[in-house]
Amino acid sequence: MQQESFANRFTPDCRWQITPAELVASGHMGCPGCGASLSLRHALKVLGPETVVVMPACCWAIIAGGQPTTALGVPLLHTPFAVAAAAATGTRQALLAQGREEVTVLAWAGDGGTFDIGLQSISGAVERGEDIIYVCYDNEAYMNTGIQQSSATPPGTWTTTTPSGKDFKYAKKDILGIVRAHNPAYLASATIAYPEDFYAKFEKARETRGFRFLHVLAACPSGWKIDSDKSLEVTRMAVDSGVFPLLEMNLDGTLVETVRPAKTIPVANYLKAQGRFRRMTTEEIALWQTGVEQKRLTNKA
């Protein structure tokens, strides 16, 4: 069924069809090259107008626009920082109580609201098997407040709270591993830099019932110190170098790599394309390369 729906998006001459209907309006507050803006635009193209978005404090809380404007063509509930998954729970349960099962509830949160302050409410929602889609768009720092380190920031990264980038005592949290340990109904990583994969995963999430989690890497040109026209290119490099593998959870709970680039590139290429990794030494980059290769061995192709 899911395979079929993926194939159906191609016309007989193999051109890929994306619905022209927009649920994210132009004129939103996103920065040029913002990966988060592009990601929600396409996520909503898949999920469609019968969707309610629940959003904690994050870049998107600003991107969506201030009163009396809104960039979204679907209902949007803003919530305090820590509770997106809980507010999405309440929304979904009320809709179920009213017999409106057809409505999809999407929690859309940044890495701070997921890896850090929102982790507890996510844990509760997955454990209860709440019927919601939770998406973390991960730009790897508190970008909205001015690029502070989060537990999604890779070690060695420059941020305003890791100014020298010398702190290697921490490691980016394995958010997929954390959520997977709670037995979600669906789990995947994706990025709009690989749109076919992104669409296929959001379609699977839409067709699955229960708690569905997507980890979406989303470039932030101002935080990553890249030109805004490079945001997709650099995000693609994250996948091609193995830093951000595109994964999906099998029914048996194992992770499968859904896109394995024909030719992998060195991690150094990905890091050197961004100003935030400028101070990393050759040894530190080599260490990262080894880590990526070891991690790759654990994921099935």
């Binding site: 107008p49 019968e50 969707t51 309610v52 629940v54 809380a61 600003i62 969506a64 626009g65 201030g66 009163q67 009396p68 404007t69 809104t70 979204l72 063509g73 679907v74 209902p75 949007l76 509930l77 803003h78 919530t79 305090p80 820590a82 509770v83 998954a85 809980a86 507010a87 999405a88 729970t89 309440g90 929304t91 979904r92 349960q93 009320a94 809709l95 179920l96 109580a97 009213q98 409505v103 507890q120 409410s121 844990s123 509760g124 454990e127 209860r128």
Partner: protein, 383 residues
């Protein structure tokens, strides 16, 4: 019809909630609130109550579930206490600012450190600036009735209401009371019709950032609604009396007190029961004392309180919560309400009990008889 029953205070509340037919219930357990949610989950489990009971991992999530469910248009319920209510604090502000109706029951309990599970009012008085209405009950019957009144008022005002009972003193004691039947409650409380809700047919954004001028305007509107809330609540209480035969008010005088006495005691919550005994005995012993109970704390019934106290020379305020460095919370509010009077009574700020410290009628009688030793300026603590 109303059925007579003997119930724990917490069970009485659960019946009040059941009769209001909430579609979503979410809570996190904390002593002494637990019997409320245990009883409700049994009701949901047995099918007596058609509701979704969501067991969350924290109080912050419990109130956040309400944010989602009520925004989506479903009547909802939660209950908490003490540390749990404190953990909700951020969401309490957000919730009132979002102009959503809700009834939350708080079983009053002290806040640590040190750990203490017993009754005082510092948990809910600490939430006085959040934009919620606050009602304090003296009996379990009153608590059951207040739930029903509160849903009616909350949904008319589009503001949340916190209903307080004294932890253990009401929550864990049996009382003979009347449970109204469903038909009676249905005729008083219509189903919740959200004026706006999360609906893909009419996509709206809730809670988006507001620039300073708009923010100020929205908060002014909230204050305006709060200023009119007392009148609306009184109308709901009057209507309740017509349906159920029981009457409540913002400021309630005890029948035991002497209305003409130049001395009055002001108190709040189930402590009033003990004060009633003390006042009755004092009056019999020739010491005339009036008794004034605050049932409503937000919006503060300043005019009603001033009317009840304007001819008094002395007012003893019995506090079970303190704003450290400023004095008893109830005393501060009482003093502020009396300030505009041409002749103000002396107000004695007495911290009578914190963390469940036992209060006997003799404790109160001693305070009254020895009030010459009380300071009308600084706070008075017991030995």
């Amino acid at each position: 019809m109303q059925q007579e029953a003997i119930l724990l205070g917490s069970e009485a509340i659960a019946h009040g909630v059941r009769l209001c037919r909430p579609e979503v219930i979410s809570a996190y357990p904390i002593t002494p609130q637990t019997h409320i949610i245990e009883t409700l989950s049994e009701m949901v489990d047995s099918g007596e109550l058609d509701s979704r009971f969501i067991r969350v991992e924290s109080e912050m999530s419990a109130i956040a579930v309400m944010l989602g469910s009520v925004s989506a248009g479903s009547r909802s319920f939660t209950a908490s206490s003490s540390q749990g209510l404190a953990m909700m604090h951020e969401l309490l502000h957000w919730y009132a600012g979002a102009r959503l109706p809700l009834v939350l029951v708080n079983s009053n309990r002290a806040l640590g450190a040190p750990w203490n599970i017993w009754c005082d009012q510092s948990d809910s008085f600490s939430q006085r600036d959040t934009g919620w209405l606050q009602l304090y009950c003296e009996t379990s019957q009153e608590a059951l009735d207040t739930i029903i009144i509160a849903y009616r008022a909350s949904e008319l005002l589009m503001l949340p209401i916190m209903v307080m009972i004294d932890g253990f003193i009401l929550s864990h004691t049996m009382e003979r009371l009347l449970i109204p039947d469903q038909e009676m409650v249905d005729s008083y409380l219509p189903p919740y019709q959200a004026p706006y809700r999360l609906d893909p047919e009419n996509p709206l954004t809730f809670g988006a950032a507001a620039q300073p001028d708009l923010f100020y305007e929205l908060k002014k509107h909230l204050a305006g609604t709060m200023a009119e809330a007392g009148e609306l609540l009184a109308a709901c209480e009057e209507e309740f009396e017509q349906h159920f035969g029981r009457r409540y008010g913002a400021v309630m005088s005890g029948v035991e007190g002497d209305r003409q006495s130049p001395l009055a005691i002001v108190c709040c919550g189930a402590l009033t029961g003990t004060v009633r005994v003390a006042v009755e005995e004092l009056c019999q012993e020739g010491v005339a004392v009036d008794l004034v109970r605050l049932r409503r704390f937000r919006p503060f019934p300043g005019a009603e309180l001033a009317a009840a106290l304007k001819n008094k020379q002395e007012v003893i305020v019995l506090n079970r919560a303190v704003s450290y460095g400023a004095g008893g919370t109830l005393s501060q509010e009482t003093r502020a309400a009396l300030y505009h009077l041409p002749e103000r009574p002396r107000v004695y700020d007495v911290v009578i009990s914190l963390g469940g410290r036992e209060v006997f009628p003799s404790t109160i009688k001693k305070i009254v008889r020895e009030r010459a030793a009380l300071s009308p300026v600084t706070g008075n603590w017991l030995d």
